[in-house]
Every structure is written in C-alpha cells, then in structure tokens.
C-alpha cells in the first residue's frame, strides 16, 4: 500500500512530539490514539503532533485530537497541531478545528508556543 502509516514519539523535557506519517484513517487511528494515551500516562500534557509527513486524515484521526484535548488542558497542557499541508488541511477546516486548536507551521514554533504564556488557541499559524 502506498503511504504506509507510522507513528513515532520523542520527548524533550516537558514536551512530547508525536510524528505521524502516511494515512490516518479508521484502521490506523487507534495506533495514533495509543501513542497519545501513552505520553499522557507518562504524565506529559504538552503534546505537539507533527503532521508534516501525514498524507491523509479522516474523521477517525480527527476524533483522536478531540478525545484528549480537554484532559490535557485540564492539566495546563495542550495538543498543538503542526506541519499540515494544504492537501490534508480541509477536514480540519470543515469541522472547525481552528476555533479550538492551536495550529503551528512546524515543531519548533509549536515548542515556542508552549513557552508563550499568552498563547491563544486559533492564533496565527
């Protein structure tokens, strides 16, 4: 199959970066969910999801972002979404993710956003 899915997590201090590659659909989303759950279980609530190499996402993948956002924000954390290409942006836009999530151009800017106490969800990407 083209675009094989993979998910990798790296942690640097307080911030966990989850990198998605390939297609996130109803078949692969559970692996993404497991990765997010694992970092939260380890006590990390500042999460960056790097979508730069993600080629596709359906509602199953979007649902993973929705499942955990309240939980991490309750612990003063956040899930920041970065590296979205024009091709995969549309489902996020249709469902109105911009109003609830912080989108960043890349991992470095997402890290900096965590350091910025005035960060506003839906701010400039």
């Amino acid at each position: 199959m083209p675009n094989p899915f993979s998910v990798a997590t790296e942690t640097d201090g307080e911030i966990a970066v989850i990198r998605l590659e390939g297609a996130v659909d109803a078949h692969t989303a559970p692996k993404f969910e497991e990765a997010v759950q694992t970092v939260i279980d380890q006590g990390q609530n500042k999460i960056v999801v790097d979508c730069e190499r993600m080629t596709y996402i359906s509602s199953a993948g979007l649902g993973v972002f929705m499942c955990f956002i309240e939980e991490v924000r309750d612990e003063n954390g956040d899930i920041k979404i970065c590296g979205l290409s024009e091709k995969v942006k549309q489902p996020f836009e249709i469902l109105g993710f911009e109003s609830l999530y912080d989108f960043c151009p890349d991992v470095e800017s997402a890290r900096r956003r965590f350091d910025d106490a005035t960060a506003v969800p839906g701010g400039a990407a």
């Binding site: 659909d25 078949h27 596709y56 359906s58 509602s59 649902g63 469902l95 609830l100």
Partner: protein, 144 residues
Amino acid sequence: MEQIERKFALTVPSSTENLALIREFVGSIAQQSGMDAADAGKLELAVDEACANVIEHAYGHDISKEVIIRAKLDGETLSIDVEDTGHGFDPNAVKQEKLDELVNKRRTGGLGMRLMKTLMDEVRYEIEPGKKNELHMVKKLKKK
C-alpha cells in the same frame, strides 16, 4: 457528443484494513473523470467515511461481511453508492453538534456524516434494516 456511461464496482471484506484499497479505487475513477486533485481528495474522503461507518457501525467489524462500492460516471456527474446488509440506522437521528459541544462531551459521533455532506453535492440514504442499506452520493463534474 453523447457521453457513454461507465460503471465500476468493488467488493471488499468489512475490515478497516481495506479503506486504503477503497480510496485507491475511488481515486482511480476520479482520475478517469478528469476531476482535479482537490476534488478527487474530497471524493476519497467522503467514500472512506461512508465505508468506515459501514465497517464499524453497520457490521460491527464482522470481516465475514461485504462492503460494496459502485461508481457510475457520465459526462456530468460521478455517483457513488455504498451498499451493506448490516444494521441500519436513522440518518436523521444523527445530531450535527458543534465541535466544542462534542469535545465537552468527549464524543466524536457524526463527524463522518458532516464531512460527507460538506464534500459531496448530494448525500442520500435508503435504509432497509437487515436487508439492504444504500448510501448514494453524487459529485458534479466541472465543465471543461
């Protein structure tokens, strides 16, 4: 000149593993239709959502069941029918809640249907529980 109608069909076991295959099938027909990449992407996503709903909800991940995807291409439209024989549902009972309400309730239901309705020009269900359920979707082709 009169356009010749072209028909395509794909039958796959009811497993999410086959969603990538379904997207390839639909993408290939979109390419034949002359659709641009953006519209082809919309079509692939809408059909993926429809089939994922069938696999998860109508069939409850029962891999012995089949999902049938039929496509019809004429000069003006690309129609896709997704057919199953699983549990039917009342599409009107699926609430279209706002994202923040869903997040508050930690629910994600109804997102797929919202995407389908936004991405396609027509979405219509014919539900006969336990017999046959059909989802008809239409994408109008842009005039060249």
